[in-house]
């Protein structure tokens, strides 16, 4: 059997497994409420919560985009390990305070926090819409990136038996199916399977790459022979960009709707803190590994263009598979792991997108019986739209898509991180700050100036956003209804 047909068989087996999990999750549901569908009845334990956090955080961007960026950028892409770790560090500022309030108030979406925190204040409705819209745009962008990555992988691993376009349609349809049938429970269970596959697969690939190159020392030599500049020390501007990327990714990722919803979905605070403690090691086990894989590709594939660089992982796996049947099977496990990572992120994003759109943008209450169905319909419509977009806009680099999403999403940070720590923080100034930050990002995009002295335009926008929101809040009188309700210090 050729590797291409082995790919088809592996893919079909994996999809059948996902269908089984979806039906099992459906049988385990307690009711038709949004809390049960979107948060698995708030009952995720340590093992499943950890793996769902892991599989959701490490996506097509990590598995295809990061090796591609390491290939383009060289050794300085080690920064990716830092910014993925910074996400788990910044969670310290949000999770311990948000979790008890979320449990007490039965939050389902991130917008529930904004609605609760700024309740009764002028400008609260506009702030809720602004935050929710930015989150929906970021989620749609994220979904687009995952669909693109799924199509690429399906085509590469079946040797074109399943073309890119059909790969997007088939896998998008599968995600829509198991999410609609099983909700968050199906997403979390499939994430657990996908997380295990990803860890095993990446470890095996790195081991082969190092063994085949003769160890790290020889691998570095081979890379420097092909591209002597790959190990150049980053200049001052690149070093500032390194720090800026850590700030951008650390802050923006914390307000990912699907991440916030996992804070809500944990069975208890203890489960949440243990899962996050385990997550601390995942940047080393995953991001560092894919960075080394991308670097190894420099020595093996020369002259790949910007967009082609996102395909270094499938190219490496193809090369690995040609070594024999045993290697083909191992490559297949990595392929499944990569596909699993992408699908697990896409399903979480889709679930969040449905709930954010239904409740925060269209104003449905999570206490209404029809909200779950409405959210599912919105998710289906968005999935179809994004699938068409992914088919039509194939030639976009994944890292470019990630940066754009983060620049916008980071503008939501004050409404969460500052609002939860500072009781005088007000909705109207926060709204003005948000508008300013988004305006700066759009201006940067229009002028094609995404960085100033290495600092991301989104980080600059955030600085202005925070200044406006905080000064405006100080100028307003103390003692808002939300302050009384929260008893914040």
């Amino acid at each position: 059997m050729t590797f291409e047909w082995l790919g088809v068989v592996g893919l079909v087996t994996y999809l059948v497994l996902l269908i089984g999990i979806a039906f099992a999750a459906r049988r385990a549901r307690q009711d038709e409420s949004p809390a049960d569908h979107f948060l698995a009845g708030r009952g995720l334990g340590v093992f499943v919560l950890f793996l769902t956090l892991y599989a959701t955080a490490y996506s097509g961007n990590s598995l295809l985009g990061y090796p591609g960026q390491a290939y383009r950028q060289g050794f300085s892409w080690v920064m990716a390990t830092g910014f993925m770790l910074s996400i788990i560090v910044v969670f310290h500022a949000l999770a311990p305070k948000l979790r008890p309030i979320a449990v007490r108030e039965s939050f389902v979406t991130p917008g529930d926090w904004v609605r609760f925190r700024f309740s009764g204040e002028s400008g609260s409705r506009a702030l809720l819409l602004g935050v929710s819209l930015l989150m929906a745009i970021a989620l749609a962008n994220f979904l687009f990136a995952q669909l693109k990555a799924m199509g690429e992988l399906a085509e590469q691993f079946t040797g074109g038996v399943i073309p890119y376009e059909w790969g997007v349609v088939l896998l998008a349809g599968m995600i829509l199916f198991y999410e609609t049938v099983g909700g968050m429970r199906a997403v979390a269970w499939t994430d657990a399977l996908q997380g295990v596959l990803m860890l095993v697969g990446l470890g095996a690939l790195l081991r082969w790459l190092l063994a085949d190159s003769g160890g790290l020392e020889l691998l570095t030599n081979q890379i420097l022979e092909v591209r002597p500049g790959a190990a150049d020390l980053p200049d001052a501007r690149e070093q500032i960009n390194w720090l800026s990327t850590i700030v951008l990714m650390g802050l923006a990722s914390v307000v990912y709707p699907q991440a916030i919803q996992r804070i809500y979905a944990a069975r208890s605070g203890r489960v949440l803190r243990r899962s996050l403690a385990l997550m601390s090691f995942m940047p080393l086990a995953t991001t560092l590994v894919v960075t080394l894989i991308g670097l190894a590709a420099i020595a093996r594939f020369q002259g790949l263009g910007d967009v082609e660089a996102d395909r270094v992982m499938p190219l490496l796996l193809g090369e690995w598979a040609r070594e024999g049947l045993g290697f083909s099977i191992a490559a297949m496990i990595v392929f499944m792991g990569a596909l699993a990572a992408i699908m697990s992120t896409a399903d979480s994003v889709l679930l969040s997108l449905g709930s954010v759109a239904a409740e925060d943008l269209f104003g449905r209450s999570h206490r209404e019986a029809g909200t779950t169905r409405f959210g599912k319909r919105i998710a289906a419509v968005l999935m179809v739209g994004m699938a068409f977009l992914a088919i039509g806009a194939r030639d976009v680099t994944l890292w470019g898509v990630i940066e754009l999403k983060m620049e916008l999403l980071i503008q939501c940070v004050p409404a969460f991180l500052i609002a939860i720590h500072w009781s005088r923080f007000r909705a109207r100034p926060a709204c003005f700050g948000l508008a300013f930050g988004v305006g700066i990002v759009i201006l940067g995009l229009v002028l094609d100036s995404k960085r100033i002295f290495g600092v991301h335009i989104g980080v600059i926008g955030l600085a202005g956003n925070i200044a406006i929101a905080c000064i405006g809040s100080l100028l307003r009188s103390p003692g808002s209804p939300s302050q009384r309700a929260l008893h914040l210090p």
Binding site: A35, P100, I101, V103, R104, T220
Partner: protein, 103 residues
């Protein structure tokens, strides 16, 4: 919703946790130690960026350019400290403030 029994009074803020003491299941030194760990993690992030390097060609550590190996070492240490900080973090199940509930 999994509302847990409330064994402490007040709030989302810090006072409630100070009053609670043993209720959190964590020793008294946990909070200050957690703060120290988070500060050290911040310093490790700054140290991971090769600001300190001159123009000399990089030496090799574990087969990698030295500044890359140092960055990885910083992130590995930060990961261990961050895991410890999470285990020292108190995440109560409720703010315990019934009066603060919204209608």
């Amino acid at each position: 919703m999994n509302q847990q029994p409330q064994d402490f009074k007040v709030t989302a803020g810090n006072e409630g946790r100070r009053e609670r003491g043993a209720g959190s299941g964590l020793p008294r030194w946990a909070r200050p130690l957690r703060r120290v760990l988070l500060c050290v993690i911040g310093l490790l992030f700054v140290a991971s960026i090769p600001w300190y390097r001159g123009d000399a060609p990089p030496a090799r550590i574990f087969g990698l350019p030295d500044w890359v190996a140092i960055a990885i070492l910083c992130y590995a240490t930060a990961a261990i400290l961050n895991a410890a900080a999470w285990l020292l973090t108190d995440i109560p199940e409720s703010t315990g403030d019934d009066e603060a509930r919204r209608p």
